[in-house]
Symmetry: C2
Subunit: 455 residues, 2 copies
């Protein structure tokens, strides 16, 4: 039997040439997205002032299974891809489990995560359209960093609205973005009407993601030659992220490995959706069965405790609505939540798959997540991002079940990124000051009571 | 002709099984190291209270060309090695140069640099000897992080004395070390006699590397079952780091590539020495000629402006003396120096090779280094460590010379690590607040006047 190496690297010629659009194989398609002004299904024309033309096509296309990766993007992918599929021999040994554990590691690039896979695609299409630049928002800065790198590569302007509290308290990611030439503005700012209005109403506010989105969208529609781009949730993002799953599948196939369980953390769903897409395609086409597990924080449990309903994608209600598992667009995880994945909703693709019983979901508490992160770091040598560590937690839990039952299951999980810019959270954990928080049913019901009334 | 891929990854079975000890091929061996108490060549017995037994043998062995990499270390190397040899196609295009540029990238591990290559070896031999733990000092924290990871893997205690100003101002690396279970103490501290004495004399001091070394050595010799370990300068460290050069050579040989110039940044010399070792071996044996360029900061120019003489390896004068290019053990680079490579001396191996005219050296100023770093980050997608960026600067300069002359030279440089924990320096650069500093001849003469009188 071939010995499986510690790290499976594909050759460049084995890298995918096309993205896979899982919607093409879904019998129940995700519900159409709605125009926030009319609450009717959006048309391409509705979206044109905000999004790039080609990306609108990708967003609305639920029938084409494979979409060519343009040559320039494929070349850029060679800068940091293929990413390794790692056999977690050290972790298996530490857990003393018969399970075989693999993880697809997306953190070996300066953005520190998988976000770059979609950032470069979105920047490319903006450049192709002849635009001057793009606008976006960022919280802690992973997406903003990825987009800055992508824009720098294509010589596009990149305007990032960064939540003010992060801008001030997490200056390092801000400096990475600036090193890549991005224009980073703390939000709310006086550069937009919506920012000025918010500052008048709440002079001392430290900002929110919802506010930053509103500013970024305004900056896109009011500046000639700019469009707005988004790093998760959208179906186009899952399409681009399918490169993760396609590489994973090719690597597994090379060694004849068939996973039993595929696990990913889920905030907006971009990594999980990208990782599972080609495997889900096989399941949808009835070719092979897998267990898929979405892992979300107990403090922001959209799949496990949210409602499947139409909701706004942003707090500011300027983006289209989509049908998804949601906690309500006004839902905010508790302030003690350090582990990322703070989004109130879930990708409409993943939501539909979950509603159809094709995928499972679990929620985990953050101290358990950081325990898993620390164990993983010590044996596998990679300090994981808090987000990724949700998947580690679930993978360890499944491997420990195998230890009990004696089953040698094959577990694959997505390790989305590194935690080098999250050391404040690790410090809390190291100092035993990290706490857990689970929202009450009343909290969630209150937030869900404000959902828009759409059937 | 075979197209060279963007990244050349060796297979696991192609990884080196032995380290290469370049001293075996040197006609003029490095001068023997001296006992600081007697100023006589050290014996193994002299070193035993401070260093691990096996590492002393490696330190003193200047005749054995190849030394087996123990199986456990080889297995650990598989966690993050082989590291990629990257063809800098994007950089070549940006420079519009006929030169072919390659870099060996050592930053894809949580320590963020090549330091882990020696840390795991040193931790292994400490474990083999049955020790409880090791002590060391760290400035910004790269070496401390690497050693923490290595000790965590083997279940060894790791006591790190971290220069107090770094401990307080750069808490993130400290937290990485703590996540790996290291005991990190701000130096000077009240845990050692030397620390207490310094605190009495200078109550407000924020510490120095020299002081931290003295504390770490005291902690090693006064705690049963501990030894002191060091991350650069020593010949054993260059031996372990030869894994960089051996992998590089195997990767180049696979594609029939013969470098003309090999470039590395040089502080204590561990990366440069490791990278060039096997190539230097060929040159020493008369098999092939290469140009080797050591790149050092203009603010700490030990090779280009120092003296080849016996000197103390540490400010506290507790470590053995070695003959090396030095600026004097009391030399401190200007406070405005942000770019690493602050060591006053140079590996005795590299010093001898330089004295024998087998290697060149250049010094570069830090704003030029950060300009190169930014250019590189934007086209190659990796945000480099300031240290590594010295090599990037020199590689770009050589590639631009090729552009002038039209020569298609092959340039290989060492990209030792990433700059994710150096964003304060990048911020200075982004804000145009970074300045250059070149010490005056008088400054250097003054420092050199305090060299010990040994012939």
């Amino acid at each position: 039997m071939t010995k499986i190496p510690y790290k499976i690297y594909l050759e460049e010629k084995e890298m995918p040439k096309q993205w896979y659009n899982v919607r093409a194989d879904m019998k129940n398609k995700p519900a159409p997205i709605l125009n926030p002004a009319t609450l009717k299904p959006v048309t391409k024309e509705d979206l044109k002032p905000v999004f790039c033309d080609e990306l609108i096509d990708q967003e609305l296309d639920d029938t084409t299974p494979y979409i060519d990766i343009p040559e320039e993007i494929h070349t850029f992918y060679k800068m940091y891809r293929p990413s390794p599929l790692v056999r977690a021999y050290f972790l298996e040994k530490a857990l003393d489990t018969p399970a075989k554990i693999y993880y697809k590691f997306e953190g070996n690039n300066t953005s520190g995560s998988h976000k770059l896979n979609s950032a470069i695609a979105q920047a490319y299409y903006a450049k192709q359209q002849g635009l001057k630049g793009v606008t976006t928002e960022t919280g802690a800065g992973q997406w903003g960093t990825a987009l800055s790198m992508a824009c720098s590569f294509f010589g596009l302007d990149c305007k990032v609205y960064m939540v003010k509290v992060s801008y001030e308290q997490k200056p390092f990611r801000r400096e990475v973005m600036r090193t890549y030439g991005a224009d980073v503005t703390p939000s709310p700012s006086d550069t937009t009407q919506v920012g000025i209005k918010i500052l008048e109403e709440f002079p001392g506010t430290t900002g929110s993601l919802g506010c930053a989105i509103s500013e970024a969208v305004e900056a896109a529609v009011t500046n000639e030659g700019y469009r707005y781009v988004l790093g998760s949730v959208l179906s186009q993002v899952l399409l681009h992220q399918s490169v993760i799953g396609l590489e994973t599948k090719t690597a597994l196939d090379k060694y004849g490995i068939v996973p039993d369980i595929i696990i990913g953390c889920a905030g907006g769903g971009s990594n999980l959706g990208g990782l599972i897409s080609p495997f889900m395609g096989e399941k949808l086409r009835g070719e092979r069965d897998y267990r898929f597990i979405a892992v979300e924080p107990a403090s922001c449990p959209s799949l496990t405790r949210g409602k499947y309903a139409y909701d706004y994608c942003d707090t500011g209600k300027v983006c289209p609505l989509q049908k998804m598992y949601t906690l309500g667009s006004g839902f905010m995880p508790s302030a003690n939540h350090a582990g990322g994945l703070r989004y109130h909703g879930m990708s409409s693709i993943l939501s539909q798959l979950y509603a159809d019983g094709l995928m499972e979901a679990v929620s985990v508490e953050q101290t358990a997540v950081f325990e898993a992160a620390q164990k993983f770091a010590r044996v596998e040598g990679i300090l994981p991002a808090p987000e990724s560590s949700h998947a580690i937690r679930a993978a360890i839990d499944e491997a420990l079940k195998c230890k009990e039952t004696g089953e040698a299951k094959t577990i694959v999980f997505g390790l989305t990124g590194t935690g080098y810019f999250d050391m404040t959270a690790y410090q809390k954990f190291n100092d035993h000051e990290m706490t857990d928080y689970i929202p009450s049913d009343a909290d969630i019901e209150k937030s869900l009571s404000k959902l828009p009334k759409i059937d």
